[in-house]
Amino acid sequence: MNLDFSPEDLAFRDEVRAFIAENYPAGLREKQEEGEEMAKEDFLSWHRILAKKGWVAPAWPTQYGGPGWTSVQRYIWSEETARADCVPILPFGINMVGPVIYTFGTPEQKERFLPPTLSGDIWWSQGYSEPGAGSDLASLKTKAERFTGDDGKEYYLVNGQKTWTTLAQHGDWIFCLVRTDPNAKIQEGISFLLIDMKSPGVTVRPIITLGGEHEVNEVWFENVKVPVENRIFEENKGWTCAKFLLAHERSGIAGVARSKRGIERIRQIASTELGDDGSALIKDPMFKRKVAELEIDLTALEYTELRTLAGEAAGKGPGPESSVLKIKGTEIQQRITELVLEAAGHYGAPYFRGFPTDGDNAHPIGPDFAHRAAPTYFNVRKTSIYGGSNEIQRNIIAKMVLGL
């Protein structure tokens, strides 16, 4: 057992740092640091820079375009990108559907979908949840019925509704769980379909969330024709892909490196904001105590994640233990936003979207960091709901780990 980086790892870290310093756009860094909402182009520009370098998909095998990093190198990568406030790479293509395609797809599917997923030419959306199928995902109702087209080819006719679809307003393609056998046991009649969102019959409608963001959508399918060759893996075996993907989704969700950066940012904020006694807020024993507790809890999470990573390196895939990472990781992310809002004091209240646009710089409305403190606090409540709610994660641990 040891915690040291090897000389090679240290050299790798320097290389990564230098690359980010030279290539990460300064404008993005600022937006990310202030927690501003990102436009489509913001996500894509960094994605493309990394794709060109061959670093956009750290976990992918080299034959599909991964960089062939060790788990320690991947750990260093996530640390360094978080430290530098890099825009996160959206998970839907790289962490979710990509691994499903290279694990379960045909050679043709790999060739067709993996390169544009890497390059950023396909923006993927995740079409799992439905109005009636949230935690109980397997009860999904969107149906896909097979038919032979006029061209003699085999198609599915897709009808139904997905919801909470993140950033689907930008989506090129959506990967969906659909019901292909209504008579089978619920997990057994599901297939995994890739659907071109430009197909006739696909409609995307916005859902506005608490902080006023347009981040999620409803996606409707009305008689959408999908070629059978867009199905990944066998018909009615989509649940296998779904479970594989959920485990992948959970392992990225701990967000240790981002939370470290978040705590560092709280320390910066609290060293300039003043407390009740007129000295820096970080000197306030009660505030300081909360930051210290966060750091300790994050350390516990970090070493739990490192143990999991070491297990993975030894050949164990991410198992139900990753639910621990999801629960603790999201709780920490949420507590960080609570402390930022607390640090903002009165200036947590102004709603930045409604700021006057009179160009008056002589009469500012609070410090910059405070402008998104409350909306971010509201928004991050989502993390204990999505990706399998934290109650569902506890159910998984109870059943799969504790054997209850």
């Binding site: 999620v216 007129g278 909306p375 709901i385």
Partner: protein, 379 residues
């Protein structure tokens, strides 16, 4: 010992509740929040003339109906249930509070304006550097002939866009954080040199940054030249009233969550049947009930001597602040994705609860204040 309400108090509650039921449903509120004005001046007029509630908490000698803090509690709780925007807190509780307790010469006519619905007041007390230390003032009031000249910047003055008048704290003497020399002024918001930048708040209200740029105010604007005790007293009353508003908000959060959990089905059953959620909703219920108890306690003690009052109010705000966080967060959690939407009312109650947590002092602030009063003062 008696926790019952008098007939008059019950009438105030019924009157307010039935008005809000008819005229302040969630859709109407949404329209009010997104309108240019941001509030309903005609509703305010109705509160004064039709309902007569703006005078409920003033004594009969002062032109009111003879009530007091309990009436404020009742109105604020009902306002909390409907997430009312209109400036009862600033005008009646705070403006009225300064008029009741200061011996201000113009009090009778100001109260007449409040009760009649023609005077609306916002309280400009917070400053960017001061957090929750009300005496930490960079805003200055300098004697100028018989009047005063104000200079400074007040942060997040809630309700200022709707206000005809401001009550302003400003240093008449002493150093920035001294207890002495805290002046209190009542000024017309339209005086030359009062610069306001108006904006919405995350919970649907409106506020302003208020800048005083050599504002000349007349001698009769002075409520108190050395008024920190007065400010503390009025803010304690306002905090108690906010506790009551929180009770209204918390009741709705809890109620809305129970309803949703009974109706939302997953895994072939209502999610209300999952024991882990049942216990969560029980804990929410306990938080709500304790908030009610603490708000009653603080409202009753708000008229006692300064130390007793301050301790009671801080104790209340600690419990209520924690309840706002626990009940608010779990209401969203139990709603799942639906809780994250702007469409449902539940999220709007959560946002209000989240701001109430920090209003007139965070949990930490009030814990420290309680400790100082309960331990340090006794030692």
């Amino acid at each position: 010992m008696d926790f019952n309400f008098t007939e008059e108090q019950s009438m105030v509650r019924d009157t307010v509740a039935s008005f809000l039921r008819d005229k302040y449903d969630f859709d109407t509120r949404r329209k009010i929040v997104s309108s240019d004005a941001g509030w309903r001046a005609d509703y305010w007029k109705a509160f004064a003339e039709e309902l007569g509630i703006l005078g409920a908490s003033f004594s009969e000698e002062l032109g009111g109906l003879g009530g007091g803090p309990i009436d404020n509690m009742i109105v604020m709780e009902e306002f909390g249930k409907a997430l009312v925007i209109e400036p009862y807190l600033g005008t009646v509780v705070i403006g009225g509070g300064f008029m009741k307790h200061s011996g201000y010469a113009g009090a009778a006519s100001v109260i007449e304006g409040i009760v009649g619905g023609t005077t609306t007041i916002a309280f400009a007390y917070a400053e960017p550097q001061a957090r929750y230390t009300w005496r930490d003032l960079k805003t200055t009031a300098k004697k100028d002939g018989s009047g005063w000249v104000l200079n400074g910047h007040k942060a997040v003055v809630v309700g200022a866009p709707f206000a005809s008048h401001l009550i302003v704290t400003a240093r008449t003497g002493g150093a920035q954080r001294d207890a002495g020399g805290v002046g209190v002024f009542l000024i017309d918001k339209n005086l030359p040199g009062v610069v306001t930048r108006d904006y919405p708040t995350v919970d649907g209200n409106r506020a302003s940054e208020v800048y005083f740029e050599n504002v000349s105010v007349p001698a009769d604007a002075l409520i108190s030249e050395d008024g920190l005790d007065l400010v503390d007293r009025v803010i304690d009353e306002a905090t108690a009233a906010v506790g009551a508003e929180a009770v209204g908000v918390l009741r709705k959060l809890h109620e809305g969550t129970l309803d949703y959990a009974k109706q939302r089905k997953q895994f072939g059953t209502a999610i209300a049947n999952f024991q882990v959620l049942q216990h969560r909703m029980v804990d929410m219920f306990i938080e709500v009930e304790q908030s009610v108890s603490m708000t009653y306690m603080a409202t009753i003690k708000v008229e006692e001597d300064a130390a007793e009052r301050a301790k009671a109010v801080s104790a209340m705000k600690v419990r209520v602040g924690r309840a706002c966080k626990f009940v608010g967060q779990n209401a969203i959690q139990i709603h799942g994705g639906m809780g994250m939407t702007d469409e449902l009312a539940i999220g709007h109650y959560f946002k209000r609860a989240s701001l109430i947590e920090g209003l007139f002092g965070s949990v930490d602030h009030h814990l420290k204040r309680y400790e100082a009063l309960s331990f340090d003062a006794a030692a």
